[in-house]
């Protein structure tokens, strides 16, 4: 660790991982509710479990991105963080706000929570992923602005690198697009139209810049390949991301009452969205093959390569499967979407967060890399989580294909609930995979506490 203030990242990472555990627990509960409908009812109804599962995901990823930025930016800018105190303060505000919100979901009915938080003054609740009470949303904006300010000042007054500028662009975009969460028109078409500006332009736009920047940073560190080479790739990847991703928003505009031309624009441009992910895979493997040193942190290298592969599979291939309008006509809102959602979030954003944590946590704890024993265990957790996620995706895809056929495609379609019964076996298999994922996550946590002889080497 080169700068003292990078240490701020540690508490962000710890919070992120704790919330990750919460997210997975609720995932496992919900997976059970798919097959045993009244499991834990009335304490945790399905809709609440789902809300907590998705909201925790987003919040912990935000924690991880913030932590990653606080670690990465001082090192890139070659100066201490502009204000470590502000970063600490924002951590507590964000954590408390997040915890209160989740407690609110669990302790009150959603309508009570809405009344309690004065939603009627500026109604923004009740939309998928944006369920947070309006005051929580205001809190998120404040935290995001303070965070972007802190990071921005550090970058702009220090050494400016491509990596840090791409990261900053991504973070500013993240903050700006969240503002559309406050726009909640009565017209449902308009509502959905702008809602995607938050959801799509985050995960298929600016978040990819953050992902690219973090991946580039870790690859510079662990491979020792020239910064210029890595930066060039980064430029090209983000250019392609923006070219395909922005107009690619159209693949959400097929059936919501928007003009016809979105079926063309959405299909064509989003069909190209796998390209930047494919480039990322090429990039990561090329850089690792050209490495100039063997970094002792093998686990971090594994996570980085894993990110590149799984992001391409989950976001790229599984997204492509149902992105063309004529196909989406049948698959819209089925388990195919769930399959894609799971592998894309895990492959792209969960794995890049874990890559950064894997690389930086040992350094923040005063060593170049973890002991061999700890790394071996971490690699086990990598495989357990990744393989079980592949299985979750495959089972959901199978369930989705069957669902599409039985409910929509065949000449004698059956109802939604009838179809759900017929695909129950896949939900059971998915639940088993989910439990393996949870075990993998626990193994991951244990790996932080394994001792042993730490590898020696220059801190990189």
């Amino acid at each position: 660790m080169k700068y003292q203030s990078q240490l701020v990242a540690q508490k962000y990472f710890i919070a992120a991982l704790s919330l990750f555990l919460g997210q997975i627990l609720f995932g496992v509960i919900m997976g059970m509710q798919y097959v045993v409908g009244d499991f834990l009812f009335p304490e945790i109804p399905f809709n609440i479990a789902r809300m907590v599962h998705t909201n925790l995901l987003i919040v912990w990823l935000l924690f991880a991105f913030m932590g990653a930025s606080y670690y990465l930016v001082p090192e890139e800018s070659e100066r201490e963080l502009y204000s470590p105190a502000l970063a600490n303060l924002m951590f507590w505000i964000f954590l408390v706000a997040g915890a209160l919100t989740v407690l609110g979901y669990l302790l009150f009915t959603y309508s009570e929570l809405a009344a309690l938080t004065f939603n009627e003054l500026w109604p923004t609740m009740g939309r998928e992923f944006l369920e947070q009470p309006t005051i929580t949303k205001v809190g998120i904006v404040i935290v995001a602005l303070a965070f972007v300010f802190n990071i921005g000042m550090t970058i702009l007054t220090g050494r400016k690198t491509v990596v840090s500028l791409v990261l900053l662009t991504g973070l500013v975009g993240l903050a700006v697009f969240f503002l559309f969460a406050f726009y909640n028109p009565v017209n449902v078409v308009l509502d959905k139209y702008w809602w995607w500006w938050v959801v799509h332009l985050w995960v298929e736009g600016v978040w990819e810049l953050i992902l690219g920047a973090i991946l580039a940073f870790v690859l510079i560190k662990v491979t020792g390949v020239d910064r210029e080479v890595i930066e060039k790739w980064l430029y090209i990847i983000i250019a392609m991301t923006l070219i395909t991703g922005i107009i690619g928003t159209g693949h959400h505009y097929f059936w919501i009452g928007t003009p016809d031309y979105w079926q063309w624009l959405g299909s064509i441009f989003s069909a190209m969205e796998p390209i930047p992910f494919f480039m990322m895979t090429l990039f990561a493997f090329n850089m690792v093959n050209k490495r100039r040193r063997d970094h002792p942190n093998k686990a971090a290298v594994l996570w980085a390569l894993g990110t590149a592969v799984m992001a391409f599979l989950g976001a790229g291939v599984w997204g492509f499967m149902h992105t063309l309008a004529p196909i989406n006509y049948y698959t819209h809102g089925t388990q195919i979407t769930a399959a894609h959602g799971h592998m894309a979030f895990y492959g792209a954003y969960v794995m890049i967060s874990l890559t950064m944590i894997s690389y930086s946590m040992p350094i923040m704890r005063g060593k170049v890399a973890n002991s061999q024993a700890a790394q071996t265990l971490e690699m086990w957790s990598f495989w357990l989580m990744t393989v079980s996620m592949v299985f979750i995706t495959l089972f959901l895809t199978a369930a989705g294909i069957l669902q599409v056929y039985l409910q929509r495609f065949t000449d004698t379609p059956i109802t939604f609930m009838q179809a759900q019964e017929k695909i129950e076996i896949f939900y059971w298999l998915r639940e088993v995979s989910g439990i393996v994922f949870l075990i993998g996550l626990i193994v991951y946590f244990i790996s932080f506490f394994v001792k042993g002889e730490e590898p020696q080497g220059v801190e990189a």
Binding site: K232, W233, M240, P259, D260, Y261, W264, I268, M272, I275
Partner: protein
Amino acid sequence: MNHTDKNIVQYKPLPGDFAIWVFIFAELLVFGILFISYAFTRKYNLELFNHHQQFLDRETGAINTVLLITSSYFVVRAVDAIKKNMSQQSARWLALGLLCGAAFVVFKILEFNEKFSEGITLSTNIFYMFYLCLTGFHFMHVLLGMVILAFILVKTHRRKYNADDHDGVETGASYWHMVDLVWIILFPLVYIIR
């Protein structure tokens, strides 16, 4: 380059940085799919396409083609010049190339302006949807290409490149030729053949 032995085939590397080529291949894939979509959509909307195609401005289209070809040619000369260590000549060729690009942009804006003032939008019909998307998307590539050219023009002018180190010029040139290549197909496809 050295004369090669008959048995050993020596290949040149791709001009410019390899990363730009990955980008070029990806871009060509995007344009390729756009072209193919156009061709097949036309097949099923023949009357509509043939009818509205007549109202496109073929003159501007042709002038723009010549401008892009000429611009590409100037950029080829710029690369030739820098390989001979003549950075000021190279900068002059690049400036000429950029000028042609700027002229293309001006003509294109006039053309778009005319269409918009006729009240044509993406929703007018499927032909205009394709016309606006294809030319508009290409237009943005021209702008991006010009930014890249301007960047290497400044660096060339400041003598940052020479006969041994001119990867940057070749990288920018390769991208610019790609923009030209795409237009070479786009122009006859959308404006001419019926």
